[in-house]
C-alpha cells in the first residue's frame, strides 16, 4: 500500500472500520487504533505510574489486552471508555503485582507525609495538575484517580483494590486534602473563601 493511499485511508477510517480491521488482525487498523488513543491512555497511565517508563510499560500491556479482547467489545459504550477501563485495570494490576502498594499509607502514617511541591516545573495547567497528583503517595493517588477521575464508586474501588470501603473513603478524603493544598500553593486552584460568621458589634 502506498504512503498516500494509506494516509487517505487513515483519515477516513471510522471507528467501525478500525474495529473491524482489528478483528481481522490487520496491522494498519491496529496501528490506527493505537495512534488515536495512545496519547490519552499514556496520560492515564502516567497518573498511576512511578515514572514515564513504568507508564509506557502499562500502556503497552494495556493495549496488548485491548487487541486480545477486542472481540468482546459489544459496542454498548464508547470505544475510548472501554479501552480506558482496560488500561486502568492494567495499571492497577501492575501496581499490585509489583507491590507498589507497599508505599500506600494509612491515616496514621499520612500525617508525616511531606510533599515538596516546589519540584513541579511550570508547564501547561493540565500537566501541572497531573504532576501534582503524582506527588501523592501511591495508595492515595490510586484512590483519587479511580474515584475523582475515572468515576468509580468507593464500593467498586474496594473490590478492585481489595480494601475496605471505609478505607477507600478515608484515603480519598486525605488525598483530596493534600492535593488541594498543593494546587493552592501552586496557584492552580484558588483558595476557597472561608465562611465567616458575622457578629454584630454593639
Amino acid at each position: 500500500m502506498s504512503y498516500l493511499s494509506r494516509v487517505k485511508q487513515e483519515q477516513t477510517m471510522t471507528e467501525e472500520s478500525i474495529l473491524q480491521g482489528c478483528l481481522d488482525n490487520l496491522s494498519f487498523a491496529q496501528e490506527e487504533l493505537y495512534k488515536r488513543f495512545s496519547p490519552k491512555m499514556l496520560g492515564v497511565c502516567y497518573r498511576y505510574a512511578h515514572s514515564r517508563e513504568d507508564a509506557e510499560d502499562m500502556l503497552q500491556e494495556g493495549f496488548i489486552k485491548v487487541y486480545a479482547q477486542i472481540q468482546q467489545f459489544k459496542g454498548s459504550g464508547s470505544l475510548e471508555g472501554w479501552i480506558r477501563k482496560i488500561v486502568v485495570h492494567t495499571c492497577i494490576n501492575l501496581l499490585k503485582k509489583n507491590k507498589k502498594f507497599s508505599d500506600s499509607v494509612d491515616l496514621v502514617y499520612a500525617s508525616n507525609i511531606k510533599i515538596n511541591e516546589n519540584n513541579i516545573p511550570s508547564m501547561l495547567q493540565a500537566k501541572q495538575v497531573v504532576d501534582c497528583i503524582r506527588l501523592l503517595p501511591i495508595g492515595y493517588r490510586t484512590v483519587l484517580n479511580l474515584y475523582a477521575i475515572e468515576g468509580y464508586s468507593h464500593k467498586e474501588i474496594s473490590s478492585i483494590l481489595e480494601i475496605e470501603e471505609s478505607t477507600s473513603r478515608s484515603q480519598y478524603t486525605r488525598a483530596r486534602g493534600l492535593l488541594e493544598d498543593i494546587l493552592i500553593k501552586k496557584k492552580i486552584l484558588q483558595k476557597p473563601r472561608e465562611n465567616v460568621s458575622m457578629v454584630a458589634i454593639k
Binding site: S38, P39, K97, A126, I133, G151, I160
Partner: protein
C-alpha cells in the same frame, strides 16, 4: 460530582503524552510475532542437518549390480578405425590381441568366463565405492608416472596383470596417439578412478563396482582384469593411472552399477505418520477445591475436575515425520518433527460483564496477589449453556528411543518413547476464576514453550517397498499449559492410533 472533582477530571482528560516508539514496537511484535522464533529456527536448522546427513548417506551412491564381470565392449566412436580390444585371460594370466594390433568386437553378453573377475573378500574388509559420473568426478588425468594403490589386497599375479595392462596401454597409446591429449580436454575419459572398485560375482564375497565411461573419442578399449587371491589382504593391487577399464555399457554416461550393501542405507529410516487423537487434560493446583460432578445435555464425555470446571474431550491430531537411526538390531534412536493439535470443550454460560479475579504468584517475591478481569462467561451451571474451546497447537522435535520387542522379516513389534520439546504456535485458554464462578482469558499466562512425553507401541509390516506402522500412541504434556505465575496447572493428554508409512531402501 463536586466542582473539585469535575475540575480535576477535566484537567486530567486534557493531558496527553506521546509514547515512545518502543511501545508500539513491543505491541506489534506481540501481535505479529513474525520470524522471532529462535527455537523454531534452531529446530529447522537441526532438522535440515538431519535431512542432509540422511541424504548424503543415501544419495547418488545407490547402485545396482547388473553384472559381476568386466566386459570388453566396443566404443561408440565416430572414428573410422576398426574397433580394437585387448583381452585379458584371468585364469591363464595371459593376454591376447596385444601383438595383433587389431581389435575385435566383443559382445558383452558372450563374454567368456576367463574375462570374469574372481575376487574373494576378506572377512571384515569394506571397500569404498564411488560412482563415477561422466563428468569424471574423482578421476585424474592420464599421467604415466602416477600409480595408485588401492586398499584391496591382491596377489602378486594381479600386480603382474597390471603391468601387462600397463604395457597394453602403452600399445594402445601408440595405436591412438590422440588418447594422450584427451584427458586435459575431455571429462569423459576412460581412466581409472582414484578409488578403484572391483567387480565380483554374486557368489563371491566382495562386490565392487568399477564404473568408467568411455570417451566417444576412444576407438580402443582396454579391459583390465585382475584377479584376487583367496586372501586378499595379503597383496596389493597397483594399477597404472592411465589403464582403461571399460564396462559393457554401450552408451556414454551410463555407469556400470551393482547393488552394494551399505550400512547407512539400512540404518536410517523415515516414517511419515498421522495420529487422530482424543484430546483432554488433567488439572491440579494449590488453590483448588472439590466440587460435585454436574451433567449437561450438551456434552458427551463430561467430567468435573477438582477445580469446579465442567469440560469434555474433543478430537485432535498429531502429524509429522520420524527419523530412526539403528544403533543395533533392536535399539534405535529416534527424532524428527511433530505437529500436535489438542483441544477440549468447557461448558459455560453467558453473563453480564462482571469482574473476576485470578490468584497469581509474584515469581520474584513469592507473594500471592490477585489480578482483575472483566468477563462474560459463567461457570456453566446457569441457564443457556455454551461451549468454550481451549486449544493448543504445538510444533515439537521428539527425541527418544525405539525398541523392537519381536520381529521377523515380515513383521515387527516395537515400542517407542520420546520427550518432545515444543514451541506453542497458537493457543487459547479459558481459565476458571479464583471463586470458581467465571471463566477469564489471559494470553499472558500461556507458556510459549513446553515439554511433552510420548509413548507408543506399533506393529510394522509391509511389502517390498512400502512399510506400514500402526499402533496406539499417548502424549502427555509434562509442563503446565500456564506459566508458573498461575497457581493452577493443566496438562494436556492425547491418546490415539498412529498410522505411519515408510519406504524401504
Amino acid at each position: 460530582m463536586m466542582d473539585f472533582e469535575q475540575s480535576l477530571k477535566d484537567h486530567a482528560d486534557q493531558f496527553r503524552l506521546t509514547p515512545s516508539k518502543r511501545v508500539w514496537n513491543g505491541i506489534y511484535n506481540n501481535l505479529h510475532p513474525g520470524s522471532r522464533w529462535p527455537s523454531m529456527t534452531m529446530g529447522i536448522v537441526f532438522i535440515l542437518t538431519l535431512l542432509s546427513i540422511g541424504y548424503l548417506n543415501n544419495s547418488s551412491k545407490k547402485s545396482t549390480l547388473q553384472e559381476s564381470s568386466v566386459k570388453i565392449a566396443e566404443s561408440k566412436s565416430g572414428n573410422s578405425k576398426p574397433a580394437n580390444s585387448i583381452n585379458f585371460d584371468l585364469e591363464n594370466n595371459s593376454s591376447s590381441g596385444l601383438n595383433q594390433k587389431s581389435f575385435k568386437d566383443n559382445d558383452p553378453k558372450q563374454s567368456t568366463s576367463s574375462e570374469k573377475l574372481s575376487i574373494n573378500r576378506a572377512e571384515n574388509e569394506k571397500l569404498n565405492v564411488q560412482n563415477h559420473s561422466k563428468t569424471g568426478s574423482g578421476w585424474s588425468s592420464l599421467n604415466k608416472t602416477n600409480r595408485y594403490s588401492e586398499n584391496v589386497g591382491l596377489p602378486s599375479n594381479a600386480v603382474n596383470n597390471a603391468q601387462k595392462a600397463d604395457h597394453a596401454t602403452d600399445d594402445l597409446l601408440k595405436l591412438n596417439p590422440d588418447a594422450q591429449s584427451l584427458p586435459s580436454k575431455s571429462n569423459s575419459i576412460s581412466i581409472l578412478p582414484e578409488n578403484l572398485n572391483l567387480f565380483v560375482k554374486e557368489d563371491d564375497a566382495i562386490t565392487i563396482k568399477n564404473s568408467m565411461v568411455m570417451s566417444e573419442n576412444f576407438n580402443n578399449i582396454v579391459a583390465l582384469v585382475t584377479s584376487v587371491d583367496q586372501n586378499p589382504s595379503s597383496s596389493r593391487l597397483q594399477l597404472n593411472s592411465y589403464s582403461a577399464i571399460n564396462t559393457h555399457l554401450q552408451q556414454p554416461g551410463k555407469t556400470f552399477s551393482k547393488k552394494i550393501h551399505r550400512r547407512w542405507s539400512k540404518k536410517i529410516e523415515w516414517i511419515y505418520y498421522i495420529t487422530p487423537t482424543i484430546s483432554t487434560a488433567s488439572f491440579d493446583g494449590s488453590d483448588l477445591t472439590s466440587s460435585p460432578i454436574n451433567y449437561s445435555p450438551l456434552v458427551v464425555f463430561q467430567r468435573s475436575t477438582s477445580n469446579g470446571m465442567i469440560y469434555n474431550a474433543k478430537l485432535g491430531f498429531e502429524t509429522g515425520a520420524k527419523m530412526t537411526y539403528a544403533l543395533s538390531e533392536k535399539w534405535k534412536l529416534l527424532t524428527g518433527f511433530n505437529l500436535n493439535y489438542s483441544d477440549y470443550n468447557i461448558v459455560s454460560n453467558p453473563i453480564h460483564p462482571t469482574f473476576a479475579t485470578l490468584t497469581l504468584k509474584n515469581m520474584s517475591t513469592g507473594a500471592l496477589y490477585s489480578k482483575n478481569y472483566i468477563t462474560f462467561y459463567g461457570d456453566g451451571q446457569s441457564y443457556g449453556q455454551i461451549g468454550l474451546t481451549n486449544y493448543n497447537l504445538q510444533f515439537s522435535i521428539p527425541l527418544g528411543i525405539e525398541y523392537q520387542v519381536w520381529g521377523n522379516q515380515k513383521m515387527q513389534i516395537n515400542i517407542a518413547s520420546a520427550v518432545e520439546p515444543s514451541v506453542v504456535l497458537q493457543s487459547n485458554s479459558y481459565i476458571i476464576s479464583s471463586d470458581k464462578r467465571n471463566y477469564v482469558q489471559d494470553p499472558e499466562l500461556m507458556r510459549k514453550m513446553n515439554l511433552g512425553g510420548n509413548f507408543g507401541a506399533f506393529i510394522s509390516f509391509g511389502s517390498n517397498k512400502i512399510k506400514w506402522h500402526i499402533g496406539p500412541d499417548v502424549y502427555y504434556q509434562l509442563l503446565s499449559t500456564y506459566k508458573s505465575e498461575y497457581t493452577g496447572k493443566e496438562h494436556l493428554i492425547n491418546y490415539g492410533i498412529r498410522i505411519g508409512i515408510s519406504k524401504k531402501y
